[in-house]
């Protein structure tokens, strides 16, 4: 499996058909781990980084997961390949832009990825489509146990799993759920959701995590504290309380829009369609914004002939690295806008003619 092949396929986290997929795009579990007998990465020289990476790579290959993954040496990878992995949520932006020896063991199914030498020695990441944290958690535990069998993790009787940054110490667990909340945005109720989330010590981020804007009405909700609660308590807060209530809130807002603001809603959806079908040059941000409205239209049955899979593919394929990989050429900004507009017209149009 190569990165070029990934560029042609649908990302697991953007596939449709997961639980609550009208609102929940994907679920993610991340565990931060470090090796007991090594310094953290800020203090490790290149020789130690290589040792750490080798020890982890060996542990991964020795486990049952070795055969399911391919290993990418991120420091030696082409910048476009790194960017592509970021766009697919398989590695973090920090990992792509980092320094020194580092890598990622990526599941061919793209359902999990193990980053070596990111901020911590090891970051276990599991991705699932829709609202499926339970399944993601089970997989993360299996991965964690499998690796813990052959390496010894830095563990403290009081503080738990030790991490380079004290904000991750304890469980090392970060739970994230990606939500599509266009109706709450339109009805102006998003602020209320964010305020409630902040009261519960949750972080709200955009499509690509820390420091990114909420492109296309996508929001990532994640826990900020990792210590003093069991993994199960952290998880069930999401699965039993937070996510179901936000989903219901968004669904209600959608129903209200459909029942009481039908024309205004259709106007938004069909304007988006008109622009996407006719634009000859389009930037990523604008495309995401318009595709978001189209997605709302499809989910609410206001729009025939465009299907959700096509839209979800487009969310990924219009991004810079995917666009260039699929086009097999490096493209400057303006050329990208042109190729992006072409791709959107083709994919939306293609679906319309085959479905009708």
């Amino acid at each position: 499996m190569s990165i070029d092949e990934l560029a042609q396929s649908r990302g697991e986290w953007l596939a449709t058909g997961g639980p609550m997929h009208d609102v929940v795009i994907s679920s993610r579990i991340r565990l931060a781990r470090n090796l007991a007998d090594h310094r953290f990465l800020g203090r490790a020289d290149e020789a130690e980084r290589i040792e750490i990476e080798r020890a982890l790579e060996a542990a991964i290959s020795a486990s049952a997961y070795g055969a399911q993954t391919f290993y990418v040496e991120i420091d030696k990878a082409d910048p476009l390949d790194r960017q592509l992995l970021v766009e697919r949520h398989l590695i973090s932006r920090q990992h792509a832009d980092g320094q020194g020896s580092r890598g990622a063991a990526i599941a061919r199914s793209e359902t999990f990825a193990l980053m070596t030498n990111e901020e911590d020695h090891l970051r276990i990441q599991v991705l699932r489509r829709g609202m499926n944290l339970d399944d993601a958690w089970d997989e993360a535990v299996r991965l964690d146990n499998a690796l813990e069998a052959s390496v010894s993790y830095a563990y403290h009787p009081g503080y738990g799993y030790l991490t380079a940054c004290p904000t991750n110490v304890g469980t090392g667990l970060r739970v994230s759920v990606m939500l599509h909340l266009p109706a709450l945005k339109m009805t102006g109720e998003l602020e209320k959701v964010f305020r409630a989330a902040k009261d519960m010590h949750l972080a709200v981020r955009g499509l690509y995590g820390e420091g990114t804007d909420a492109l296309g009405d996508f929001f990532q909700l994640s826990n900020q504290t990792t210590l003093g609660r069991t993994e199960d308590q952290i998880l069930s807060e999401f699965t039993d309380t937070i996510i179901p209530s936000i989903v219901k809130y968004e669904q209600n807002a959608r129903q209200v829009l459909r029942a009481e603001k039908t024309t205004a809603l259709d106007d938004k959806i069909y304007r988006a369609l008109g622009l996407l079908e006719n634009a000859r040059l389009i930037a990523t941000d604008e495309a995401l914004y318009l595709l978001s409205h189209l997605r709302l239209g499809v989910v609410l049955d206001r729009l025939d002939g465009v299907n959700l899979d096509t839209l979800n593919d487009l969310f990924l394929f219009i991004q810079a690295a995917h666009l260039q990989k699929r086009h097999r050429a490096s493209l400057a900004g303006e050329e990208r806008s042109l190729v992006r507009a072409d791709l959107i017209r083709q994919m939306i149009h293609g679906r319309q003619t085959t479905d009708n």
């Binding site: 310094r39 953290f40 901020e119 089970d138 563990y155 504290t225 990792t226 210590l227 003093g228």
Partner: protein, 161 residues
């Protein structure tokens, strides 16, 4: 640092007096401070202790001396970078680090989750049970009692297995 008065116990009370424009610093243990009539608040939070600790000059010098023998990281370096140097730092930086953790972790300082001694095993039935419980709750909420009854039976069956 030892108490300047009895020279036996560690100094835990640090005083800075201004006498006729002249600064005088004293470092005493609890007992000697009490004898001198210095009132020490007993139920103060660790954050208050730390910040008053940081206010007095010698204390900063004390913290500045905190250095991990394994990785060479000093507490001052950690404060400016936000990242620790090695697992050992968690012990070397002691209470000063604990105060920071407490603040970052919403008041928590003790891990209660998964550990090498308390491994979590994935029980295949567990997830199915959780899913059914959630669906049951939803069914009851939406007053779909027919579905709720079915789900309840499924849950009972799962428990028998």
């Amino acid at each position: 640092m030892l108490c300047q008065h009895c020279k036996k116990n560690p100094a835990t009370v640090h005083l800075t007096d201004l006498l006729k424009g002249e600064k005088r610093e004293r470092h005493l243990c609890d007992q000697c401070a009490a004898k001198e009539g210095v009132v020490v608040k007993s139920n103060v939070s660790i954050n208050d202790v730390l910040s008053s600790f940081l206010m007095s000059q010698p204390a900063i010098q004390e913290l500045a001396k905190l250095k991990c023998p394994r990785c060479g990281m000093t507490f001052v370096e950690f404060r400016s970078q936000g990242l620790l140097g090695c697992p050992n730092d968690y012990d070397v930086f002691g209470e000063a680090l604990e105060a920071i953790i407490e603040r970052a972790q919403n008041g928590q300082t003790r891990h209660v989750g998964k550990s090498p001694e308390r491994p979590i095993q994935v029980d295949p039935g567990q997830q199915e049970r959780k899913r059914l419980q959630r669906e049951l709750r939803e069914a009851v909420e939406s007053e779909d009692y027919e579905r709720a009854a079915k789900l309840r039976d499924q849950l009972a069956e799962l428990d028998v297995q």
